[in-house]
Amino acid sequence: MKARVYVSLKPTVLDPQGQTIRSALAGLGHAAIAEVRQGKFFDLTLQPGTAREKASAEIERIAHDILSNPVIEDYQVEFLD
C-alpha cells in the first residue's frame, strides 16, 4: 500500500518559483496560463499488512508535523492503491 502526501504553499504565501515558471510559460507563448503554484509530493510505501485505518492517522500526523510546515504550507494525503 502506498500513500502520497502533497505539500504546497498556502495560497496567501508568495511563491516566487511559481511566478518565474509562469512568466517563462508566457514567454513561450502559453498565454492561457494565468498562474502557476509549485509544490512537492512524498510517496510513502507502507509495510505489508498495515491496516489502512491505522496508517491513515499516522500518515496524517507525519504530514502535519514533519513533511509540511503548517505556518506556510498545506498538505493533502491520498492513498494510491
Binding site: 496567501t12 508568495l14 518559483q17 518565474t20 514533519i66 513533511l67 510546515n69 505556518v71 506556510i72
Partner: protein, 222 residues
C-alpha cells in the same frame, strides 16, 4: 563566559562562531555535536549558519528533531541565551521556538553580500550594548531568508518590541524588512545576517562584535 556552538552535519559557520567568541572576544567556546542530548554546562548557545542535514525537506526541518535541539529547547525555556544565525534562525523557526518561517528569497537568488541593519531595540541581552537606531554593517549569505509570518503575528512582534533588526534595503523580500526577532522571553534571538563574520578587522567590519559583547555583559549581570 562559556559558549557552546552546536554542530549539525552540514553546519559551515561553526568555526567562524568559535573564532569570534574565542579569538575576537577572548571567551571560551566549544563545539556540541548534534546527537548530544546535553549541552555540557555552557552559559550560552549559538546555532550557527550552514546547511544542516543538507537543507533536506526544508531548511532546518530535520535539525529540529535532533537530540541536541531537545536540550537547546529546555535551555531556552530556562532562560538561557540562544543565538541562531542564518541556518540557526531557520532551525529556531522550524522548532517553533521563534514564530514565523523563512521562505525562498523573493528574487530566488542566493545572496552573499554586506547589508545594513538598523538596531530596533536595545532591550535584549543581544543588543543592549548598542543603542536603538544604530546601523550595523553585516554580511548575509542565504537563499531562504525571506521572513514570513501572518499579519497578526507581525503585529504582535512589533507591539512587544520583539523585532531586533530591520534591513535598510530589504534584500530578500522579508515581511516588514525584518532581519531578526526575539522570543517572548527575549533570551532567544534569530537573525539571518552573520555577526560572527563581522567580528575581525580583517573581515572589513567589526559591527557584529556588539552582539556578542552584549551577550557577554548580559550574562555577567544576570
Amino acid at each position: 563566559m562559556r559558549v557552546g556552538v552546536v554542530v549539525f552535519p552540514g553546519s559551515n559557520c561553526d568555526h567562524d562562531a568559535w573564532f569570534a567568541v574565542s579569538r575576537n572576544l577572548g571567551h571560551t567556546a566549544g563545539f556540541i555535536w548534534h546527537d548530544s542530548d546535553r549541552l555540557g554546562g555552557v552559559d550560552a548557545v549559538i546555532l550557527p549558519g550552514g546547511f544542516s542535514y543538507g537543507d533536506y525537506l526544508r531548511c532546518g526541518a530535520i535539525a529540529r528533531f535532533s537530540p541536541v535541539m531537545q536540550a537547546v529547547r529546555k535551555f531556552a525555556d530556562d532562560g538561557g541565551q540562544v543565538l541562531g544565525i542564518c541556518n540557526g534562525f531557520q532551525v529556531l523557526v522550524e522548532s517553533h521556538i521563534l514564530p514565523g518561517a523563512l521562505l525562498r528569497n523573493a528574487g530566488l537568488k542566493f545572496i552573499c553580500r554586506e547589508v545594513r541593519l538598523r538596531v530596533e531595540t536595545a532591550a535584549s541581552p543581544f543588543t543592549h550594548a548598542a543603542e536603538k537606531g544604530r546601523i550595523l554593517r553585516l554580511p548575509i549569505a542565504h537563499g531562504e531568508g525571506c521572513y514570513y509570518a501572518d499579519n497578526r503575528t507581525l503585529d504582535e512582534l512589533e507591539a512587544a518590541d520583539r523585532v531586533a533588526f530591520r534591513y535598510l534595503d530589504n534584500p530578500n523580500g522579508s515581511a516588514r524588512d525584518i532581519a531578526g526577532i526575539l522570543n517572548q522571553g527575549r533570551n532567544v534571538l534569530g537573525m539571518m545576517p552573520h555577526p560572527e563574520r563581522a567580528a575581525d578587522p580583517l573581515m572589513g567590519s567589526t559591527d557584529g562584535l556588539v552582539i556578542l559583547q552584549s551577550m557577554v555583559s548580559a550574562y555577567a549581570v544576570r
